[in-house]
């Protein structure tokens, strides 16, 4: 018998799943093969050692200290629900408004004279918007070049806002420790 087959038998034996004929085979091989016998004994020692080693328990106050660190699920659930509701409203309202406008204004706007005047005024509006955006960008560029201090202050303000955002989130999600009742 090959050593590899012996290993499979050893594995079954450790799992307590070795059938009678397997046991006879394994014993026969172990009697005839000193290296396998030595390895089997070493494996059995480790196996027994692991089997008889009890689990380790944490410190006595572990459960209490862990409990104190739990976040507040109820507050979190309500906060998440509110955020989802707002997001949903934010997404649905404009669509409802659009549909309503289409129904009310649709018949009036579909007349040809009105259509052409609408396209004209859209063109004008786009032109005006383009000019305004270009002017804003030019102004912003100039400000960055000439007044870096102002830009710096804006960055500092952003930093302060994000830090306070983090702090308030901590306050919401990690309330003061409580004791197990």
């Amino acid at each position: 018998m090959e050593h590899e087959e012996t290993y499979l038998l050893m594995m079954d034996a450790l799992d307590g799943e070795l059938a009678e004929d397997g046991r006879i085979k394994l014993e026969a091989h172990l009697r005839a093969c000193p290296p396998c016998l030595q390895e089997w004994q070493a494996i059995m020692v480790v196996h027994t050692l692991l089997q008889t080693t009890p689990a380790l328990s944490p410190a006595v106050d572990f459960a209490q200290r862990t409990f104190a660190r739990l976040p507040n699920r109820r507050v979190r659930i309500w906060t998440m629900a509110a955020i989802y509701a707002l997001l949903l409203l934010g997404g649905v309202l404009p669509i409802l408004l659009g549909v309503w406008l289409a129904f009310v204004l649709g018949p009036v706007l579909s007349e040809p004279t009105i259509l052409s005047s609408i396209s004209q005024s859209i063109g004008h509006a786009l032109q005006v918007m383009g000019t305004v955006v270009a002017a804003l960008l030019a102004g912003l560029g100039e400000m960055i070049v000439q007044q870096p201090a102002i830009v710096g202050w804006l960055l500092v303000l952003l930093g302060i806002i994000s830090i306070w955002g983090g702090v308030s989130r901590q306050l919401i999600f990690q309330p003061a420790p409580q004791q197990i009742s």
Partner: protein, 197 residues
């Protein structure tokens, strides 16, 4: 409905105290797994706490078709594996010898002499486990302390039953080799541990 399911339902509705009962019930298995994996009492406690916090915040994703214990253990072992990888990334030594934990012994029925022997046994086990790569270590720990089937371990570690079987056998051979090299022997049929320094 058993007690555990009641606690789980209440915890899912935001009842912290109900989850506190689950912490009390599972603190030893979770801590033991973390300690076996990390071989450090402080890190094990931190990891066990973090595992409970993660379980609590992710209770919605727990599938009641599975055992809660298995779910809890897999959160713990995943977290421990993360820590081991980070530790390696920080180039810290994993094999650094650590002092035994004061709460090492949970069995108080034995006398002081028995406790000393048990401490040596725990140290020997930790020394052996620390020789294994972390996926082998996880397999061995789950098999020996949690009595999980190959199927359950394979599902937890996201692999096949045959992979777990071969991993476990290779781990046992490796442990036997290290054990022999460290003078771990049997005498007179009953097991005697001798660590030859």
């Amino acid at each position: 409905m058993n007690e555990e399911q009641v606690w789980l339902d209440e915890a899912r509705q935001g009842d912290k105290a109900a989850f506190g009962k689950l912490i009390e019930a599972y603190q030893t298995p979770v801590y033991n797994l973390a300690y076996r994996m990390l071989n450090n009492a402080g890190e094990a406690e931190e990891a066990a706490q973090e595992a409970f916090i993660r379980a609590y915040t992710r209770l919605d994703s727990y599938d009641p078709a599975h055992k809660f214990s298995t779910w809890m253990l897999s959160i713990t072992s995943n977290y421990c594996i993360d820590i081991i990888r980070k530790r390696r990334a920080l180039l810290l030594s994993i094999d650094e010898p650590l002092p035994p934990h004061p709460a090492l012994m949970s069995d108080n029925s034995k006398g002081p002499e028995a406790q000393v022997v048990m401490n040596e046994q725990q140290e020997m086990v930790q020394a052996l486990l620390s020789e294994l790569p972390e996926d082998y270590r996880e397999t061995v720990v789950l098999r020996y302390w949690y009595d999980l089937s190959y199927e359950e371990i394979a599902e937890m570690m996201d692999t096949t039953v045959s992979a777990i079987k071969s991993r476990l056998f290779r781990a046992r051979r490796l442990l036997a080799e290290v054990g022999q090299a460290n003078g771990l022997v049997t005498m007179n049929d009953s097991m005697v541990l001798t660590a030859v320094s």
